[in-house]
Subunit: 311 residues, 2 copies
């Protein structure tokens, strides 16, 4: 049984990838900075990965041959400029070094479309030049550039999946799709930009499937993790309004577009397809699952909150 | 008086830049991992820059507004793949962070032509894509990518000088030009490759002058540190043989060309020229100064070595 250690296991992508790794027959170990609930077949570990000593301790304990590194500092909005990501760049390279020293063989990590030069064409393949315009993108690019060369020196296979625009159950509430769904569920106005930005939206279970594929395979190097299905923010938000039956609550143009966000952020997905990947969800299907999740989540919250007001 | 801290101050470039900074009116502080001899107007400090605590201590003590970061792991030959450079990448970003936190304003650091994609044209300008093919080049590229974005977050001006092929007094003996000079001085055969590689050779005092210019100015971003004067290794080695009067000791083709070294490594120098820089030395003049230095160095060594054999 192949043993894998997953970092960021309680994060947005991590939560979806764990069951897939279990189903694929991995002996799955999850590491987080605090105690978290995982599926019963996952072995949980608590460690602060920003500490080299704690990295070494968890690697000594688990001795994984595979590592899926998803942990990073990504609070909605602030992560673009957060200095914490410089610490994560340092910690990620340390982790690879410690993993290699502990006998690790295959290291797969999450990159981002923010590694590309957003002032260019808006549609990127993996061989296009790096040109991050944010600290977040620079930290991810730097981790990747160095990790790929380190892999050669350490005899560790390194694969790097560049995530574009994931969405789905568990996405942090401050981000676009959850904020629109929650507004409409609460019968509040969903204040949006004009929504002309075009993105490659990928349902999080498809993102997780792509990472499971990367971990299980032998591919090394860079690959875009994207669906190949593009839509404008306006189209996606309109579809949410339609599915939730509250189109009148959507206010396009109510907030300005963030200046550093490019009009198009789309991916050439040939490389991912060549690895045998096909997305399972259309945008409509993914949104339906996401709305359903928020609705049941909200019902759970309502049940668990004592409502003294009505007494 | 502007206070500057110079790292790698006892290195090949560092030794040449210190007197220029003093002459330009800086209050010069030099930091090294061991006690070193410096010009009397330089304030020496000993610290291990791979330690965050020691970085902070020296920054607290010096409180520099300017920092020239030249320290790195560069033993001839082995530096291309040395894992120590991953530690220097981490330490360099820490240094910038600590420098910003200590009130620093301007950070200038040494990059390398190995940041460019050597599989391409052989002549690079600063806007060309990154494409390091070595761990050394990846670590330098990563430091640069992240440092430039960190500079914005920390309100520190960051300038990055990409060094091409420096040579001159103090160059480590294992490298091309010193090894040929030393062989000829010792009346031994200088075993060379075919020498068809073309490089932008720059005399180290000119390299130092370019860094003094960068430190003193307000330019931020990337700039090639190169002379604009190119020659093949064969031309340079032939000139050494001519100047030393021992052309017959040079054996071209005696050793194979290192496979990862590209045939051309030359620089567009428009950006450096636009900052007001002109090299002072032709290749012939630079080689003459270098041969002279090795000769006097060798005489000093001979004088300080007791020669019992002749008694």
């Amino acid at each position: 049984m192949t043993r894998i250690l997953v970092t960021g296991a309680n994060g947005f992508i991590g939560r979806h990838v764990l069951p897939l790794l279990c189903a694929a027959g991995f002996d799955v170990h999850a590491v987080c900075t605090r105690e978290s609930t995982f599926p019963p077949e996952v072995s949980p570990h608590v460690a602060d990965l920003l500490s080299c000593e704690q990295q070494r301790a968890v690697l000594r304990e688990v001795r994984p041959s595979h590592l899926l590194h998803l942990a990073w500092h990504v609070p909605p909005g602030e992560f673009w400029t957060a200095m914490e990501n410089v610490a994560w760049l340092r910690a990620s390279l340390r982790l690879l070094e410690n993993f290699g020293a502990a006998g690790g063989k295959r290291w797969v990590a999450a990159g981002t479309c923010a590694e590309y030069d957003w002032s260019t064409q808006g549609y990127w393949k993996e061989t296009d030049p790096l040109g991050p315009s944010t600290l977040y993108g620079a930290c991810k690019s730097s981790t990747q550039l160095t990790a790929i060369q380190m892999g050669r020196a350490l005899h560790v296979d390194v694969a790097w999946g560049r995530i574009f625009s994931p969405y789905g159950p568990g996405e942090p509430e401050g981000r676009l799709i959850p904020s629109v769904i929650c507004a409409l569920m609460g019968e509040r106005l969903a204040r949006c930009t004009e929504g002309l930005q075009v993105r490659d939206f990928m349902f999080v279970e498809d993102v997780a499937r792509a990472f499971e594929l990367l971990v299980s395979g032998t591919f090394t190097g860079l690959v875009n993790i994207a669906s190949g299905m593009t839509a404008s923010v306006r189209e996606v938000v309109t579809e949410i309004g339609r599915q939730m039956g509250r189109p009148e609550l959507i206010a396009f143009g109510a907030i300005p577009t963030r200046t550093f966000e490019p009009p198009r952020l789309t991916a050439n997905v040939e490389r991912l397809r060549s690895l045998g990947f096909q997305p399972k969800y259309t945008i409509e299907q993914g949104l339906a699952r996401t709305i359903e999740w928020w609705a049941s989540n909200r019902r759970l919250e309502a049940r668990s909150t004592p409502s003294d007001e009505r007494i």
